[in-house]
Subunit: 341 residues, 2 copies
DNA sequence: CTGAAAGCGCTTACAG
DNA sequence: CTGAAAGCGCTTACAG
C-alpha cells in the first residue's frame, strides 16, 4: 500500500503543498472556500500526514513521554490511563519510559531518548519528579515537563496535585468523630513526598483534637502490602491494641486488615482500619476499605492538558502552572464508632 | 542546545556521512580500524541519531505499539512491563495504544496511528487479538504483528502463548488429589479465548477422574471481582455447598473468597478456593490464594523478541512463529484435603 | 570497503 | 491569502 503524500493531495486539489499544510494544521490565512475544498480532498483521499516528515522539519513530534520509576504499580496504571485517553483525544501518542536510578547510565539512556525522540513534552510522576538532577536533563534538552504530585521546587515546572495533607486530616477527623483516640499510623515510603504530607495531615487533626500522637503507635512502611502486614503484626501484639489504624495507602491497609484476621481481631468491631488512594483492591477486600479517593485518572489527563496548553501558549504566553484536583472521603465498611466496640 | 548531526561526526572523523551511518547501524563492510575510530568520535561527541530523519528515510521507526482493550487491567500492566523492559534493552520505544471497538471510528483512528507512526511492529493482546478485522488492518499497512494468547487463526501471525488448558487441568488434578469431588467452576469472560481453554482443562481432569461436571455448579463470570462474588453467593446459598471452587482468574477467586466470608464459610476448612493468573492481589488476600502463575511479564518480553527476530530475518527468512511459556502451580493457603473438612 | 547524489515528506522562511 | 525554494538529518541505490 503506497502512502498518499501531501503532494498528491495538493495536485488533486489544485493548490500548493503549503496550502494543504496550512489546512491540516489549522493555520490562519486560507480562504474559507479553499479550506473547505482542501479538507474535502484530504478526507476523500484518506490522507494522513507522515509523523516523521513532520517531526523532521518542525521538530514537533506529537509524542509525549510518561516517565515512571515503577510502571507496573497500580498508582502508575491509573495515571497512565488518564494520560492515554486525553493524549489520544488530542492527537498525541504516549510513549512509556521507565527510569532506573539504580543504573549508573540512566542519564545517558534518557538523553538518547530525549534527543532521538524529540518529545513534545514529558510527564514525571512521584517519586522521580522530585529529583532535581532529572529535571535538569529535561531542561537542557528543552523538553517541557509537567510533574504530578511533586514535593519540592514548585516553581520549576507546571504541576498537577491534590491536597494530601488536607485529605489525611479529613480522614483522621472522620476517625476522631467516631470516637477513636488511640489511632496508629503507618507511614508511607519516604521516597514519595506524599508520605510526609499525609503524616502531617494526621498530626494536624490529632493536635487540633488535643491529642499528641504516641510514637509507639507510628510505624514505618513503604507503601507495599508486606510492610502493612508487618507493622500491624507488631501493633496487634501489644495490649491493648489501638482502636483504629490509618495506613498511608490502600495496599498497606490491606496488610493491616490481613494481620488483624491472622490475629483474630474483628474488623471493624474491634479495630477500625482506613487506607488512602481508593485503588481497585480497596473494594476487593472484606470488609471493603474506607479510604480517600485520589483522582489518579484525572491527574493523568490534567497533566496532558497542561502540557498542550503550554505549547499552544508559546514560550512567552502565560498558561496554567498548577492544577489541584479534589479528593474524596469514601466511607465503606472498615470503620465503626469506638463506643460500640 | 544545538543537536549534533551525522554530518558533524563525519567531518570530525574525516569520513563520509554514509560511513558513520554504517557504523552506528552495525552494517558490514567497514574496515575495523575505521569502525573503531568512528565509534570513538561518536562517543566523544555524544552523538545520537535523530529518530525522525531515520524514520523518514528508511521507514523504520524504532517504535513498537502495544495495543490494548483495557490498558488499566492488572493483566495488561504486567505484560506491558515485560514488553517495556525488553524493548528498551533493544533500543526500541513502546507506544501504548488503546483500541475501543465501541467507537464506530476505531478503524480510522487506528489507520491514523499506523500511517502516521510507521510502527516497526505491533503487539496485540487478548481479547482484541482474536478480531480478524483488526488483524487485517495491520496487514494492509504492512505492520508486523505478534499476538499474545490468541484463540484462533494461529497461522496468521507469530504468537506467544501458554497452555491454559493443561494448566487448568493441573489445577483441577490438584483439587482432585485433595479428595474433592464436588467442585464448582466459575467461567471467565467469554470474549477472552483463554476462558474456554480453562474450562476445557477443568473438564479434562474431571472426566479423567470419572466425574461429570454438574451444570448447576458452573457459573458464568466475566473475570471481574463482582462476578466472582455473585456466583459464590448463589453457590453458598445451596446446601450442601461444593467443597471446592475453581475460579477462572484471581480477581473472581477473591470474589468467591469474600462471599465465603460473608456467608460465614471457613476457608479452606469448609471450602477450598483456587484462582488463575497469580496477580499481585493473590498474595494480599487472607488466606493467600492457591493459583496458577501465568508468566505475563515473560510473555510481554517474548513478544518483543519475536517481533525483532522477524524483522532481522527479513521477509523471506524463517523465524520463530510460536513461543509457548511454562505455567506453574502455586500452592498457598486456600486449599485443604477434603477428608479433613 | 567507501562515498556522492538523490530523496524521504513534510515545514520554515521568505516573497509577492 | 498563496506559493516556490530550501532544508530538516538521515538512508537508499548506485557507482567505483
Amino acid at each position: 500500500m503506497k502512502a498518499i503524500t501531501i503532494t498528491d493531495v495538493a495536485r488533486r486539489a489544485g493548490v500548493s503543498p503549503k496550502t494543504v499544510s496550512r489546512v491540516i494544521n489549522g493555520e490562519a490565512h486560507v480562504r474559507p472556500e479553499v479550506r473547505d475544498m482542501v479538507a474535502r480532498v484530504v478526507a476523500d483521499m484518506n490522507y494522513r500526514p507522515n509523523a516523521f516528515a513532520r517531526g523532521l522539519s518542525s521538530s514537533r513530534s506529537f509524542l509525549i513521554g510518561l516517565f515512571f520509576d515503577d510502571p507496573a504499580s497500580g498508582y502508575a496504571a491509573s495515571i497512565q490511563r488518564g494520560a492515554l485517553e486525553r493524549a489520544r483525544a488530542l492527537g498525541r501518542h504516549l510513549v512509556i519510559e521507565p527510569i532506573s536510578f539504580d543504573r549508573s547510565d540512566w542519564r545517558r539512556l534518557l538523553e538518547d531518548t530525549l534527543q532521538g525522540l524529540r518529545l513534545d513534552g514529558a510527564i514525571l510522576t512521584s517519586p522521580i519528579c522530585d529529583r532535581a538532577d532529572l529535571i535538569a536533563v529535561f531542561e537542557e534538552h528543552d523538553v517541557p515537563v509537567v510533574r504530578i504530585a511533586p514535593g519540592s521546587d514548585f516553581d520549576r515546572t507546571p504541576q498537577v496535585r491534590m491536597d494530601d495533607r488536607a485529605a489525611a486530616r479529613t480522614m483522621t477527623e472522620h476517625l476522631l468523630s467516631l470516637g477513636h483516640r488511640d489511632i496508629a499510623f503507618v507511614l508511607g515510603n519516604p521516597k514519595h513526598s506524599a508520605s510526609e504530607r499525609r503524616w502531617l495531615g494526621f498530626q494536624d487533626a490529632m493536635t487540633a483534637a488535643g491529642i499528641t500522637p504516641d510514637p509507639r503507635r507510628v510505624f514505618q512502611g513503604d507503601f507495599r502490602f508486606r510492610s502493612g502486614l508487618e507493622a500491624a503484626d507488631a501493633l496487634f501484639g501489644t495490649s491493648p491494641h489501638p482502636t483504629a489504624v490509618f495506613a498511608s495507602n490502600d495496599e498497606m491497609a490491606l496488610g493491616v486488615l490481613v494481620a488483624a484476621m491472622r490475629n483474630q481481631i474483628a474488623v471493624p468491631r474491634s479495630v477500625s482500619i482506613v487506607g488512602f488512594d481508593d485503588v481497585a483492591i480497596a473494594r476487593m477486600a472484606w470488609p471493603q476499605l474506607t479510604t480517600i479517593r485520589q483522582p489518579n485518572f484525572e491527574m493523568g489527563a490534567a497533566a496532558i492538558d497542561l502540557l498542550i496548553e503550554r505549547r499552544n501558549a508559546g514560550a512567552d504566553g502565560k498558561s496554567e502552572t498548577c492544577r489541584e484536583l479534589p479528593y474524596e472521603l469514601v466511607i465503606r465498611s472498615t470503620c465503626m464508632p469506638r463506643s460500640l466496640a
